[in-house]
Subunit: 348 residues, 2 copies
C-alpha cells in the first residue's frame, strides 16, 4: 500500500468519562483535539453531572442513550466502567477512532517538548505496516528512517495498519501484583520509536491510548471479556488485552498490521494497588489460558471480513475455553451479540 | 532462566581489521575495552602492517595463522574482507564474543553522553530474552522496566539470549540502492530500547555491532554466504544477514532469544554508494529467495545442538536453494565444512 491521507473529519476521538470533571483533561488536550470531533461516553455508573469546558465539537452519550440504542435485547453487554468507551466505538460513523483514558495527559519527549499524540496516531494509521519482516531501525516510514540492508524489496510496500498502540509514561500499565510489589516504579523511559509487531507474535494491547481503523478491525473491539469482580481501575481489568488479541489475530489473518510505540501519554496516579490485590486475581490467572489460545488460533479462509473473524473467534472461545471458566463462556456470547449489534447500528 | 553473571575474562572482543591504522579506533574504544581480551584478525587481503597502540591485552591473527589453522583442506572458506572476523570467532575460547566493525565508534545517547556498548551487550546477553510474547514496554529486564499488565506470569522467566544485535547512528546500514537514492540520509534517532525479536519473526541481522553466546549459537556464525563479486563495503555484502537468519532459526528451534536495539555505535563514512551500485545487485536479488526460505524452515526434533542445526540448515539450503544460484550451493557446502572445522578447532 502507499501512504493514505487522513482528514480530520474522518476521525472521532472517543473518551470514556469515568470521572465527572473533565476540565483539566480536556484543557490539557485542547491544542491537539480542538480540530476533531469528540465522542464522550459517560460511565453509566457515574452519578455526578459531567463538567465539560466550552469550545469543543463534541457529542456526549449517557446511560439513556445507551439504553435507547442497545435496548434490552443485548443484556449480556455491559458498558460500565472502562467499557463505556465501546459504546462510542459503536455509534461513531468515522473511519478512524482515537481513544485515550481520561486520566492521561499528552506526554513530553526526552527533550522536554510536549508531543502531539493525535497526529502521531494518525501517522501510524496512515503509513504502511511491515508485519512480515522486522526492520531493525524500527518503522521505516518514520521521518529519517528507511529499510535496512537485507530487507527484501518485495516486502517494502507493506500493508495497511489496523491498530496503533500508544504507550504511557509515569504510571506504567502494570498489573496489580507488580505495582504492589514495586509501588514506586514509574516509567520514565521515552522510547522514540514505532514498530510493527511481527505477524503471529502476540502482545498485550492496553486500551489506555490506542487508535484504529474501524473498517478494518472495528468490530473486534468489544467489551466482551468482563471479570466477575471487575473494578474501574485499569489493573482490575483485562478487557482491552482480550480485545487486542482478537485484533491481532484478525490482522494476521487479513494481512494487516498492528503498530506499537509512539505516541506516549502521561498517566496520572489513580487507585491503590494494594487494595486491588485484595480482590481475586482472576484476570492474571485467566491470561495463562488466553495467551496460548490466541497464539494457536488460526482462522479459516472463509472468514474474510472482521465481522466473520470475530464470529469465528467467538465460536472457538466457546468450544475451547468455555469449559474452563464462565468468564470465557460469557465473552464468547457477548462477542456474538456484539457483532449483531454492530451490524444493526452501523446499518442505520 | 535467571540473570547470569558474565565475568570480563569470559568475553573476547573480536575485531576484523580492514584498515591498517587501528589507532583512532582503539583509542576511542579504550575506556570500554581495556579490561577485556581482544582478538584482532587482519584481513588477509590487507597488505600494510597493522598499527596498534599499546596498553591492550590482545592477540593479532594474520594470513599465516589462518593458513596454519585452516589449512588447504577447507578451501571453500574465505576469510577475506569482512569475513576475516569469523576466524576470530573460530579460535576464541571464550563463552561470549562481542564484534564490532573497525569503522565504528562508541555512540552518544540523546543527552549527548558517551555510551558503553560493551557493557550494554553484556547486559543483553546476561538477562533473559522473552521471545514468546511481546512486552510493549520493551525489555522487561532493563532498569526501571517490568512486564506490563496482561503478560502471563508463566512466560516471565524468559529464556537465554543467544544473540544481541546492536544498532548504528550516522551512516545507517542501508543497501547500496537505498543509500544511493538518498545520499544524505543519516540515522540520528537514538532509540533507547532493547527488545526481544518474537519467535518465528525474521530480521536482517547486521554484523556491524553484535555479541553472542558461542556455546548457544557460535557455530551458526559462518562466512558461508559469499557473493560472486563481494566487495569490502558493508552494502556489498550480505554474509551477516544470512548468518543472522541461521542464528534466528536456531534460536527459535532451541527456545533461545535474539535481542535487538541498544547499544548503538556511530558509523563513519566509507565508500561511495553510487560506485557500489555499478556492481551487480546480486545480494539484493537473492534476499527475495533467502527470506521466504528461512521463514518457512522448521528444524527437526533430532537437531539438539547448534552444530546439528547448522548441518540441517545446510542440507535444506542445498536441496531447496542450491538449484536457484551457485551462491546458495556454495553457502551450503561452506556451512558443512565450517561445522567440521569448528569441531576440529574447538576440540584442540
Amino acid at each position: 500500500m502507499s501512504e493514505v491521507i487522513i482528514k480530520n473529519d474522518e476521525v472521532d476521538i472517543v473518551i470514556g468519562a469515568l470521572q465527572s470533571d473533565l476540565t483539566p483533561f480536556l484543557e490539557a488536550w485542547r491544542p491537539f483535539i480542538s480540530d476533531f470531533h469528540l465522542i464522550i461516553v459517560k460511565d453509566p455508573d457515574l452519578k455526578e453531572e459531567l463538567k465539560i469546558p466550552g469550545g469543543f465539537n463534541l457529542h456526549v452519550y449517557t446511560k439513556s442513550d445507551i439504553d435507547k440504542v442497545v435496548g434490552s435485547s443485548t443484556s449480556g453487554i455491559s458498558f460500565s466502567g472502562y467499557a463505556c468507551r465501546y459504546f462510542g466505538y459503536l455509534v461513531s460513523r468515522k473511519r478512524y477512532i482515537i481513544s485515550v483514558d481520561d486520566d492521561c495527559l499528552p506526554a513530553k519527549n526526552s527533550k522536554g517538548e510536549l508531543t502531539d499524540p493525535v497526529s502521531q496516531h494518525i501517522i501510524n494509521l496512515s503509513t504502511p505496516a511491515t508485519p512480515f519482516f522486522f526492520n531493525t531501525l524500527y518503522d521505516p516510514f518514520c521521518e529519517g528512517a528507511d529499510f535496512v540492508r537485507g530487507y527484501p524489496f518485495s516486502l517494502r510496500t507493506g500493508v495497511e495498519c489496523g491498530l496503533s498502540c500508544g504507550l504511557w509514561l509515569n504510571l506504567a500499565d502494570l498489573d496489580a501484583p507488580t505495582q504492589a510489589l514495586k509501588p514506586s516504579l514509574r516509567n520514565t523511559r521515552y522510547v522514540d520509536a514505532v514498530l510493527t509487531v511481527p505477524t503471529r507474535a502476540m502482545l498485550p494491547v492496553s486500551g489506555i491510548n490506542i487508535a484504529f481503523n474501524t473498517e478494518l478491525v472495528g468490530p473486534a473491539l468489544t467489551p466482551a471479556f468482563r471479570l466477575a469482580k471487575e473494578g474501574n481501575l485499569r489493573w482490575e481489568t483485562v478487557e482491552d488485552i482480550w480485545t487486542g488479541m482478537c485484533v491481532k489475530v484478525i490482522c494476521d489473518h487479513l494481512r494487516l498490521g498492528v503498530k506499537s510505540g509512539l505516541p506516549y501519554v502521561s498517566r496520572q496516579e489513580r487507585g491503590n494497588a494494594i487494595e486491588s490485590l485484595k480482590k481475586e486475581w482472576e484476570g492474571v490467572k485467566l491470561m495463562e489460558e488466553v495467551v496460548p489460545f490466541f497464539q494457536s488460533l488460526r482462522l479459516s479462509e472463509t472468514s474474510v471480513t472482521p465481522e466473520d473473524c470475530v464470529a469465528e473467534i467467538a465460536a472457538a472461545v466457546k468450544e475451547r475455553l468455555g469449559p474452563v471458566s464462565p468468564t470465557f463462556a460469557g465473552a464468547a456470547g457477548t462477542m456474538v451479540e456484539w457483532i449483531k449489534l454492530w451490524k444493526r447500528v452501523r446499518a442505520q
